[in-house]
């Protein structure tokens, strides 16, 4: 259903990324998302990045018209939202390794808070890292990776994951990030026979599993996902390969 909520707090996470905390007492599970309406601009899906009984948050990187418009909102402003949508992560085991890449870190943070599990946060560079304070407070171990080596492990999230999996075994990898990162996370998990749950993304319209615009093969990312298990992903021929545009045309990644 649609709700109008009030922004309570805005946190600058990085030069281009802000967290918006708003009053909303809806029940939301880690890994679910909401649709946010920006009047006159667009309506877009956003992962819920923080969950308390009375408040929820989204963490937004300013990359397009809609996200830049959200950045102009401040404390006291109203947001019109729909949701929550999607399945969310299965966190029945606490022995998981959680991985967030770039702004995908927003989607995994409620799982970090709920489980206190070991966590990897990865970004291009130190200036792109987000939500480190929350992660430090809740994760048993927090490891950081940057592509340029400006802080933490010099390399990407998947390389660091491989290192950590040599030292310790986990029931499951829980990850969200750019599709290329998730694709290689999946490949590594297949190679190492490691269970995983990955939060995927596609262009969305309804968010409710009706219109079929966000399908990957026969799976609706908005309703059957956005979190898919390793065995589900093994059947998705479009994952890492192609997506559909607003017309439903196939667009290859490379």
């Amino acid at each position: 259903m649609s709700d109008v909520v009030t922004i309570k707090k805005v946190v600058q996470e990085a030069y281009d990324t802000k967290t918006f905390v708003f009053d909303w007492d809806a029940e939301v599970r880690p890994g679910q998302f909401i649709m946010i309406w920006i009047p006159g601009v667009d309506e877009i899906p956003m992962s819920v990045s923080g969950i308390t009984d009375a408040t929820k948050s989204i963490t937004v990187k300013a990359i397009g018209d809609a996200t830049n418009a959200i950045h102009r909102f401040g404390e006291g402003d109203k947001l019109s939202i729909r949701g929550p949508f999607g399945n969310g992560f299965d966190l029945s085991s606490k022995n998981v390794l959680i991985i967030g890449g770039g702004v995908g870190t927003a989607a995994i943070m409620p799982a970090v808070v709920q489980t206190g599990a070991d966590t990897i946060i990865a970004a291009r560079s130190d200036k792109d890292l987000i939500m480190l304070d929350t992660a430090r407070k809740h994760a048993s171990n927090l490891w950081i990776a940057t592509d340029d080596g400006s802080v933490g492990f010099h390399g990407n999230a998947v390389q660091l994951m491989r290192e950590k999996l040599k030292e310790k075994s986990y029931d499951c990898i829980v990850a969200c990030g750019p599709e290329v990162m998730l694709y290689f996370t999946y490949k590594a998990c297949e190679e190492l026979d490691q269970d995983c749950q990955l939060s995927l993304e596609r262009y969305m319209k309804c968010g409710a599993g009706v219109c079929g615009c966000c399908v990957m093969d026969d799976q609706r990312v908005c309703r059957d996902g956005p979190v898919f298990t390793r065995s589900q992903i093994s059947k998705l021929t479009e994952f890492g390969v192609s997506k559909r545009d607003a017309c439903g045309r196939v667009v290859k990644f490379r």
């Binding site: 649609s2 649709m35 667009d42 009706v210 219109c211 399908v215």
Partner: protein
Amino acid sequence: MVSLKTSVGSVSLERPGMIASGIMDETGKSLVRVLESGAGAVVTKSIGLEPKPGHDNPCFMEVRGGYVNAMGLPNPGIDLFKEEMDMAVPKGKVIGSIYGAGPEDFSKLAAKMEDYGACAVELNLSCPHAKGYGMEVGTDPSMVGSIVSAVKSAVSIPVWAKLTPNTHILTQIGLAVQDAGGDAVVAINTLKAMVISPEFARPIMSNKFCGLSGGAVKPVGVRAIYDLKSVLDIPLVGVGGISDWRDAAEYIMAGASAFQVGSAVGTRGLGVFEQINSGLSAFMEEYGYSSIESMVGAAHE
């Protein structure tokens, strides 16, 4: 043992429920998934001559009693849609939904759908939120007549016309379909609607206008089928707010030989087809209806 087999003219169906156009039917694999979930046939997204992205978001939202949408006929265009049809057609009955601005567009599109293996075409004469298409061409009986007769001469597969409830001359439009040789009438499409945000003092949909679907429209659809059954001899397909066997039975007793399910895929999930099938069988068993045919129009006697 009761049978759920039915037919819409020459199109025979193992089960009476189909997915309504616009729901999980833009890609081949999605259509196959719906066919495997207990639907007797699938109706594709409405396809036009050229690719179309549809209206900007927001184009959908939940309202009391259903959904509103203003998708705006997004589709990859008839040429690219071939590969989706290639995947779906071997797996079951596929009805190709098409939209156009006039008889020529519809004829070209219908011919392609026939080439692709559609078992029938459904003419979208009823979308309430796309300028120049749908309801704008489907509320004028003479335009409807010329579209149907043009398509009839272009293809040999059955031609179904999906009509809008947003008119006071529904039965005249239905008669125009029948007189032009149309094989079936599908009713209803969504009710033209609008949702306004008090906080932002503006319509929520980017397109302002939208169409209402879901449980709230069911009595309107049942009435439309009842009215159409009173004047038409060609078969009817009922659609609008069906989410359980009772809803389906209402439409059948109003005069529909088969039905379509849309919004309930969102509210109930894809299991809705199996739920309706088993509920309908149990009802038919208990009340002594041996076939769908024996129930069609029962409320008229």
